[in-house]
C-alpha cells in the first residue's frame, strides 16, 4: 500500500511534465494461440491479422504456437481488434504480450499508459517496476517502453480500460 501511494505521488508530480509530448505506440505483440499446427488455419490467421490496424508484419512460430506482430512506424497496433480476429479465425487465444511505447499517466488514481491515436489506455501493474520507472532515473520527454502481459483485469471503476499490462520489462526512453 505504501509503495502504491509513493508511486502515485511521484507520478502526479511528473505527469504534467511529460504529458502531451510523447508518441505512444503498440510496437510488438506476441500472441499465444492454441491450434496453430494446422497450416491452413495458421496461414489464414496470418492473413486476417495483417488486416488489423497498424500491423506491418506477422510471423508465426508454429512449434511454439506464437504469432508475433510488428507495427508500422506510424501506426499503433489496435489491441482491441486482435481477440475477435483470432476467435473468428477459429482459434483460442492463450495469452498476449505487448511492447508499448507510451506516456505514463493517472486516471482516478490508477497508473495507466496512454496510447496515442487510440482510445486504448493500458492499466499498468507491477509496483516494483513502476517504482523503478519513477525514481532514481531522469525521466525525459521520450516516455517509456514497457513490455508485459496483457489481461482483462480491471480495477473497480475502470471498466473503460480493456487491458491491464503487467510489466515484465520497462525502460525510460
Amino acid at each position: 500500500m505504501k509503495a502504491r501511494t509513493f508511486i502515485l505521488m511521484i507520478g502526479m508530480l511528473i505527469e504534467p511534465w511529460i504529458a502531451d509530448t510523447l508518441v505512444a505506440q503498440v510496437e510488438e505483440v506476441a500472441i499465444g494461440v492454441d491450434g496453430l499446427a494446422c497450416p491452413f488455419c495458421s496461414y489464414g490467421l496470418e492473413k486476417k491479422l495483417k488486416e488489423a490496424t497498424g500491423v506491418r508484419e506477422v510471423a508465426i512460430n508454429i512449434d511454439k504456437g506464437i504469432v508475433l506482430l510488428k507495427s508500422t512506424s506510424k501506426e499503433s497496433i489496435d489491441l482491441e481488434q486482435l481477440e475477435p480476429i483470432i476467435k473468428n479465425a477459429g482459434f483460442t487465444l492463450r495469452d498476449l504480450t505487448a511492447t508499448v511505447v507510451g506516456r505514463l499517466s493517472q486516471i482516478d488514481a490508477v497508473q495507466v499508459l496512454l496510447v496515442n491515436g487510440s482510445n486504448t489506455n493500458l492499466i499498468l501493474k507491477n509496483d516494483a517496476a513502476l517504482r523503478k520507472l519513477y525514481t532514481g532515473q531522469t525521466v525525459g520527454n521520450n516516455g517509456v517502453r514497457v513490455t508485459g502481459r496483457l489481461t482483462h483485469e480491471m480495477p473497480k471503476g475502470h471498466n473503460a480500460h480493456p487491458f491491464t499490462l503487467t510489466i515484465e520489462e520497462a525502460k525510460i526512453q
Binding site: C38, P39, K47, G90
Partner: protein, 313 residues
C-alpha cells in the same frame, strides 16, 4: 455337361470374376520409394512444403509455402527450377497452397495471403491471375486448392467462405456451392477438391473430418468419415488424390497418415504414422499420383517430399 456340372462351372466362373475383381480393388500394401528435401531455402530444400502436383510428363511441382515459391523437379526429385518470391505483384506469391496442373498444362497456384489464383506455364512464366478478397462471387477468403473437371473448368476451395467456386479456365466465375455447417452437403473449412472422370467432385471437408462427393449438379451423392483416429476416421481430412482404379487417397493431417478407400468410401488401407523416419509423416498436407502409380506426399512438418508405390497383390 449336365445341370450340376453347369452349375459348378458357373460358380467357378463367378468366383474367378469376383476374386479378380477383388484383387484389383484391394491393394495389399504401400511401398516406400524415395524422398528428398530438408529445411532451408536453397534448391531442393523446403520451408513448409504444403502442396504437390504433377504434370503430364511426371514432373513434380511443390508449393513451398514458407519460402513463398514454387519448385519444380523431375519425377526422381532432381531439381529443375524455382520461381516466385514473397509479394503481391505479378508472379509473386503469399502462401501458395494446393497448386494444380490444368488439363492444358498450366500451373494454377492458389494463394492464401493474396486471395487469388495465379497461373503460370510450366517454366514459371506468369500467364494471368484472378481473385480479390471478399465473399462475392469470384472473390476469395483464403483459396486453398484448385481442381479441374475433364472439360477444363476450375473448381476452387474457398476456405473461410466455406464454399466451392467454379470458373472457366480463364477464371471467369460460373457458379458456386456450399454453405458453412456440419449437415450433409454443408462445408466446414474445405481444403481440397478433385473432379473424377465422371464429373463428380470430391471435397476434403477438412474440419468436418469427412469426404463429400457431389454430382455435376452439386447434389451430394456420398459422404464418409468423422473425427477420430480409427480406420475411416480423420483428424482434419485435408487433401485428396485418385489413382487409375479410382481409389481415393485421403491425407489425414493430424493422424499423420494417408488412408486409401475404394470409390464407394470403403476403407482399404492406410500408411504413414507420426515421425521423421522413412515412410513416416509429420503433418502431411497434400498428395499426387502419377500414371505409373508413384505417390508423392508433401510431408509438411518434415520439410520433404516422400514417394511411395502401391503394390497390388
Amino acid at each position: 455337361m449336365n445341370a450340376r456340372g453347369l452349375a459348378l462351372a458357373c460358380t467357378w466362373a463367378l468366383l474367378t470374376v469376383l476374386l479378380v475383381g477383388c484383387s484389383r480393388r484391394q491393394p495389399a500394401s504401400i511401398e516406400y520409394v524415395s524422398e528428398w528435401g530438408r529445411e532451408g531455402n536453397d534448391a531442393r530444400q523446403f520451408k513448409e512444403p504444403i502442396g504437390v502436383a504433377l504434370d503430364s510428363d511426371g514432373n513434380v511441382y511443390v508449393a513451398d509455402a514458407g519460402n513463398n515459391r514454387i519448385q519444380k523437379f523431375n519425377r526422381d526429385g532432381e531439381f529443375l527450377k524455382e520461381w516466385a518470391k514473397k509479394g503481391r505483384g505479378e508472379g509473386e506469391l503469399d502462401r501458395p497452397i494446393h497448386l494444380e496442373i490444368s488439363t492444358r498444362g498450366l500451373v494454377y497456384v492458389p494463394e492464401y495471403g493474396n486471395d487469388r489464383i495465379q497461373v503460370f506455364d510450366t517454366n514459371g512464366e506468369f500467364q494471368f491471375s484472378w481473385g480479390t478478397t471478399g465473399k462475392a462471387p469470384g472473390q476469395f477468403d483464403a483459396p486453398g486448392s484448385v481442381g479441374f473437371d475433364p472439360t477444363g473448368h476450375a473448381f476452387v476451395t474457398d476456405f473461410y467462405n466455406h464454399r466451392i467456386q467454379k470458373f472457366d479456365e480463364k477464371g471467369n466465375f460460373l457458379s458456386s456451392f456450399g454453405t458453412k455447417g456440419h449437415d450433409a452437403g454443408q462445408l466446414h473449412y474445405p481444403t481440397d477438391i478433385l473432379v473424377d472422370q465422371h464429373g463428380n467432385s470430391l471435397v476434403a471437408d477438412a474440419y468436418n473430418h469427412r469426404i463429400q462427393k457431389f454430382d455435376k449438379q452439386n447434389n451430394l451423392i456420398l459422404s464418409w468419415g468423422r473425427q477420430g483416429k480409427k480406420q475411416g476416421e480423420f483428424e482434419v481430412a485435408n487433401a485428396l488424390a485418385l489413382d487409375e482404379e479410382e481409389r481415393v487417397y485421403v491425407v489425414d493431417f493430424d493422424n499423420h497418415r494417408v488412408q486409401v478407400f475404394d470409390e464407394a468410401g470403403k476403407f482399404l488401407l492406410s500408411f504413414g504414422g507420426k515421425g521423421a523416419g522413412t515412410g513416416q509423416f509429420n503433418h502431411p498436407t497434400d498428395i499426387a499420383i502419377n500414371n505409373e502409380g508413384l505417390i508423392y506426399v508433401a510431408d509438411w512438418g518434415n520439410n520433404r517430399i516422400q514417394v511411395f508405390r502401391l503394390v497390388e497383390h
